[in-house]
């Protein structure tokens, strides 16, 4: 793949899904920095991928199980509404982060650390994690530390929020294997917060029969998707791990 060579849609999708080999990925990243059309196409594909995940985040349960679901009041409905609004935002905004990164790249854990706080329009970033896959958790925490420790952000500090839901809730639960690292981050930086999805906590409580406890450095929010929606409306940069 030379710099000006044709990039197939298959390659673009493979890049999006993390399926490209390292050298191809790097070449594509270089190309994306000056090819606005390609970057826009990647943005739209990424949007489509995210929206699909949101559309089935809380599928309706069969009639016999609906009673159980509605026992935890309006969370499910709120989720649907939040997801719906996110659909709206996604389609109307293109991809919010486009505006904030120096290049035309869509936001990702890989490129978000390139954000220059001194020149960025907005220094508010939300990292969303919904998995306990160790490589993803590591990527989120690594990115968090890199962003917070960026010397260029001394005069214009970032505001960073990590939102965990679904399986990612495990990151912020009491007894999390990442508790010490999270505590160190929270102790050293006041401009970071860790938010746990209340809906996910309620789901786990119903399943396990016990109240879900969080790390001392984490706070509960009603629903992750609502939180994301709020932040997007306030102009935050959204990055999904």
């Amino acid at each position: 793949m030379t710099d000006d060579s044709f990039i197939s849609r298959e390659s673009l999708n493979a890049f999006l899904d993390g399926e490209l080999a390292a050298d191809e990925r790097n070449q594509l990243l270089t190309r994306l920095q000056h090819d606005k059309v390609l970057a826009q196409e990647l943005c739209e594909l990424r949007q489509t991928k995210e929206l699909l995940a949101l559309a089935y985040h809380q599928p309706p349960l069969p009639a016999a199980q609906t009673r159980t679901a509605t026992a935890s009041p309006p969370s499910r409905i709120r989720h649907a509404i939040a997801a719906g609004l996110l659909l709206g935002i996604g389609l109307s905004l293109g991809w919010v982060a486009h505006h904030h990164l120096a290049d035309n790249l869509p936001p990702s854990l890989q490129n978000i650390t390139q954000l220059d706080p001194a020149t960025a329009v907005n220094n508010k970033i939300l990292l969303h994690i919904s998995s306990m896959d160790s490589s993803r958790v590591k990527a989120v925490l690594d990115t968090t530390e890199k962003l917070l420790n960026n010397p260029r952000s001394e005069n214009t500090p970032l505001q960073l929020e990590i939102v965990a839901n679904a399986d990612g809730l495990g990151l912020l639960r009491a007894g999390s294997p990442y508790a010490e690292r999270i505590h160190n981050i929270a102790r050293q930086h006041r401009n970071v917060s860790f938010k746990a999805c209340g809906f996910a906590m309620e789901t786990v409580r119903l399943k396990e029969g016990n109240e879900v406890l969080l790390l001392p450095d984490a706070q509960r929010v009603d629903a992750a998707l609502e939180q994301i929606l709020r932040r997007l409306k306030d102009g935050w940069l959204y990055v999904r791990a």
């Binding site: 849609r9 991928k49 599928p59 659909l87 709206g88 935002i89 996604g90 389609l91 109307s92 505006h99």
Partner: protein, 180 residues
């Protein structure tokens, strides 16, 4: 780790932990809550029955989805002479709030997914909902990896177009503007 060392109890626990993930993907395939539940149930029954065929616990999740894909294929074969699966109406949440505009957007998005052919729908949902790799999806559906790539590509392209055609966002959140 060989399953020789993986006790049945651990297997059942692992199976139960996958219920939600299986249901989400099953629902995305059929858009019928009762059918999705039955499909997951059948998958779990078959998985228990064929537990000995699982050689590596590390490949448990893709193996489980392969079992479900086989159950789904069998179901489609059985129903071929009765009703087309895509003619099933997509279920709504049975609540007053289901009239809400945003809930309608979710329905429309699911309708857009329902317009994909089943081959594309399966590949895309396994990748985007379950986050399986291309190789794993190829194994689950028993197709070449190149076919996975082309189905992802065509499916996403079609879905993207369908979402653009919906044009649902312009009045959803006034004040937001497109940023290029």
């Amino acid at each position: 780790m060989s399953l020789f060392f993986w006790k049945t109890r651990q297997f059942h626990q692992a199976l139960e932990a996958q219920w939600q993930a299986l249901y989400r993907v099953a629902y995305a395939w059929c858009h019928d809550p009762q059918l999705a539940k039955d499909l997951v149930q059948e998958t779990m029954t078959r998985a228990c029955h064929h537990q000995h065929r699982l050689m590596q616990s590390e490949t448990f999740t893709p193996w489980l989805f392969k079992v479900m894909a086989n159950c789904w294929r069998d179901h489609l074969r059985r129903r071929r002479d009765t009703v087309m699966i895509d003619s099933v109406e997509i279920a709504h949440d049975a609540t007053p709030e289901s009239d809400h505009e945003t809930a309608q957007l979710i329905q429309r998005l699911r309708h857009a997914v329902a317009q994909l052919n089943m081959e594309q729908r399966q590949v895309i949902t396994l990748i985007d909902l379950q986050e399986l790799s291309y190789r794993e999806v190829a194994d689950v559906l028993d197709i070449p990896i190149g076919t996975v790539m082309s189905r992802v590509c065509r499916g996403r392209q079609q879905l993207k177009q369908l979402l653009q055609d919906l044009d649902v966002a312009r009045n959803a959140l006034p004040g937001l503007r497109r940023i290029k």
